[in-house]
Symmetry: C3
């Protein structure tokens, strides 16, 4: 098999690779492939992928020896004597198959409970779970079959961790939260801290904390990156739907309701009680105002700030977020704004002797 290290430890022949991904080989079946690279990089023994015509035009000059190609793409300049193209239904999916085959995986503690873990006698830990050193599982918590808590993970009182969920070191789950099956949570993420809720000071009393007594409820097949935070609801639920994928350093405030199959890229911030519909995608560092309402199948470009409502199916960007076509035109105008103002000032001054330039 292949490897991701520099040393050529393992390798695979081009025809074997074609069989593995159920593809059609055009070219040399005997190439020995042992590493992966983008099409612009590469060397002898390197496999790459061609998912669009834009990639295909680099093939002739690429140093990669083989490529997975989505069927229907025309790849000019192929040299079938010395190189190999493997046509598949979907080059991306084939690449996922290859990556899975060579994935060294994540080191995890063995089944059972490490001696340095602390499990409350009234917690329920399935015997097939793997609980690493330094983990703390509080009273009434449930850690289901196949769960992995790598190390120094904290599971609060009455919290439920669903089957086969893997939790990396340092993750903290507050009390009474739940996550479904096959979840994956990266290190130092915090689920279920108090929402940020205060009554403003008046002349009669200082700032007053509003107790945050709700919970966080996370569906199945959810992935959450490192150092992200999802706050518990004031009352009721902060909710993350099935199959939603959350990047690193994302902040989800109290009472947010996030649909299914949603993608939230790095450092996105959701204000309190904001909602996101199914299959919506947010780029990096997006900000949703408190109570913002984002529909289904929306695309929000990185860096956008959403003030209020985005309807189903819209593609928006900018500050504040607006439909992409208008935003792009405004951004273009902003890039030339100083020049535009000078030109207008000059002309108006010529036309109207009363005009005062800026």
């Amino acid at each position: 098999m292949m490897t991701t290290k520099d040393e050529q430890v393992h390798q695979i022949r081009a025809d074997e690779l074609a069989a593995m991904v159920e593809g059609t080989l055009v070219g040399n079946p005997n190439l020995h492939l042992h590493t992966l690279a983008p099409i612009e990089d590469g060397a002898i023994g390197t496999l790459t992928f061609i998912r669009s015509q834009g990639f295909a035009k680099h093939w002739a000059d690429s140093k990669c020896e083989a490529a997975l190609v989505t069927q229907g793409i025309d790849v000019p300049g192929h040299d079938p004597e010395n190189r190999a193209l493997i046509f598949v239904a979907d080059a991306d999916m084939a690449m996922v198959k290859v990556l899975n085959a060579i994935n060294p995986g994540t080191a995890t503690p063995p089944r059972g409970v490490h001696l340095n873990a602390v499990i409350d006698p009234d917690a329920h830990v399935d015997p097939s779970a793997s609980i690493g050193p330094g983990c703390v599982i509080c009273k009434g918590a449930t850690v289901s079959a196949g769960v992995t808590l790598m190390a120094n993970v904290y599971i609060g009182q009455d919290t439920h961790i669903g089957n086969d969920t893997q939790i990396h070191p340092g993750v903290v789950f507050g009390d009474r939260c739940t996550i479904g099956q096959r979840g994956l949570i990266f290190a130092n993420t915090v689920i279920g801290a108090d929402g940020y809720g205060f009554l403003l000071a008046t002349k009669d009393r200082p700032v007053t904390k509003v107790p945050q007594i709700g919970i966080v409820e996370i569906g199945d097949d959810v992935e959450i990156g490192a150092c992200s935070t999802i706050d518990r609801a004031k009352f009721g639920v902060t909710k993350v739907g099935h199959r939603t994928k959350i990047d690193n350093q994302v902040h989800i405030a109290h009472n947010c309701i996030i649909g299914e199959d949603v993608l939230l890229c790095g450092r996105t911030t959701l204000g309190g009680s904001s909602t996101i519909g199914d299959r919506t995608m947010l780029g990096g560092a997006v900000i949703l105002n408190d109570q913002a309402t984002v529909g289904k199948d929306v695309k929000i470009a990185g860096g956008a700030i959403v003030l209020d409502v985005i309807n189903d199916g819209e593609t928006v960007l900018g500050v504040p977020a607006m439909p992409a076509r208008i935003a792009m035109a405004n951004i273009a105008a902003q890039r030339n704004l100083a020049k535009f103002c000078r030109r207008v000032d000059k002309t108006l001054k010529k036309l109207d002797s009363d005009y005062q330039p800026s």
Copy 2:
């Protein structure tokens, strides 16, 4: 009492609730209330609150059975046979009272030091403190009466934790920092990492670290969210005043001076040596430039970038932050900028044959 779960475990009669919040009941005293909801949601057995005329107009159509209402608000369409309004001096404060009454609280370790905690023999830990597993308390540190360190908390050398402060799992306090009484710090926050201070490279030497030998000093009744960072001063003090409330993923750089009763919402970033006056409120994801000076009683809207000085009492927003009235007008103009430019270009071309459109 009430509950936040779906099951109707506990409930309270409307007249009992009125007595608890010292309110005046108008309507059915015998309703059994067992949960809370926003006025637009709700069902049989649900309590909500009406803090303004804007909420009141939803009452007639709401499915909630009872509401806490701030005195003086007119609630149209009330059906006193079947529903209940409870008039109080301040619906928000009454709701806080209700939430406190039903708050299940946070699970904490018992008094004393867990066997898996590591306490330096020269640390001072009050016997009434609760020190959970995995906590580390260094030489010379003081952990005062009633303090809770939940799990895996690190208290650096000579650091002082004031009475009744509660610290969630994974929090790290560096050496020589202090926090006052009744603090509340959520998981994985880091207090007292080095400030980011370097001398730029010259042709004679590489980038050079400026030792960060100051401390962090936090007042009483301060709340800090999860995954926030407050850096120690280069020399002197990074300071957070009494009763200031800090949300998740806030970053406070070295030598910042933050006043009392300040509110910092999620993901706000304070550059080095910036200062904030008492009672000032910052929305989410605000950025303060290094050395920015923000006065007292200022309001800064989410997403703003403050370059230099904001005077006492101002309300600002935008990038860069400017008085709200001007900023709102500029933002409105920006939203229509491309259209405006096209219209001006067209007219000027007509008026002046020499004009070159953008």
Copy 3:
């Protein structure tokens, strides 16, 4: 020696200080200095520094008794009877020398492995390393000579920590990552979480995870702040060059390539596969788009968003980032935009009866 506390525990005479920094004293050699302050603050016994003419003009009114001054700066209003100026080649470097001399340092665990640390029998831990309580070192990992893991640090399988690197509590290194010598990593930072890589859902399949099988490779003399995240590559390497300094809450996505001597200030976000050349400086909260390419010796102001390419040596700012001169003019125009539009509307309406104001 001096102190950073209020009490005057230690002090140094002005002439001794001049000798220590190899400077030339002009003024009273017998002043007793015991603390440091900015030139606007200060009191009896306080040392400050004057690195530019801008600082020098405050000297006459400053309450500081002594100052380190970069040679060649003219300091008006000096009173050599009662105060002291110490001229040095570089006041900043002299201040670093003073700070290092009085630096109390960071409390660290003693040499050897704490009883509450968990070391895999197949891990390699140098006997001169200091491994604090709660640390976990996995199979095949190497912890080199002089390394300090303060507490609750997780070192993944086959990960390599170079000589004399100091790692603060709660840091997590995933599997197969490496860091060089003399590194300094602050608390709760996560190195080597999975990159955020998914194939978008199609009508035939849900969102699909792309295995992230690459690594993170960090050079020598790198400093990383608290709660930052550096993701492993999809395949290949996410790389941080020698002597690069990274602030708190910075997010570096998969496959980023960061050069040497780079400075990344607080909360900066690098999108996937973005690259940064040597000696480039990014201000706080900068965003780099996926695949953005930033050259060498670039300066990017805080809050900028980089969409695509910044060439070597450029200074840029704004959203999107553009050359500073143009961006400053555009920002100035934006600040007055509403006013400008009104004035233009008014004049055009007067000149052209067909014109429709905005």
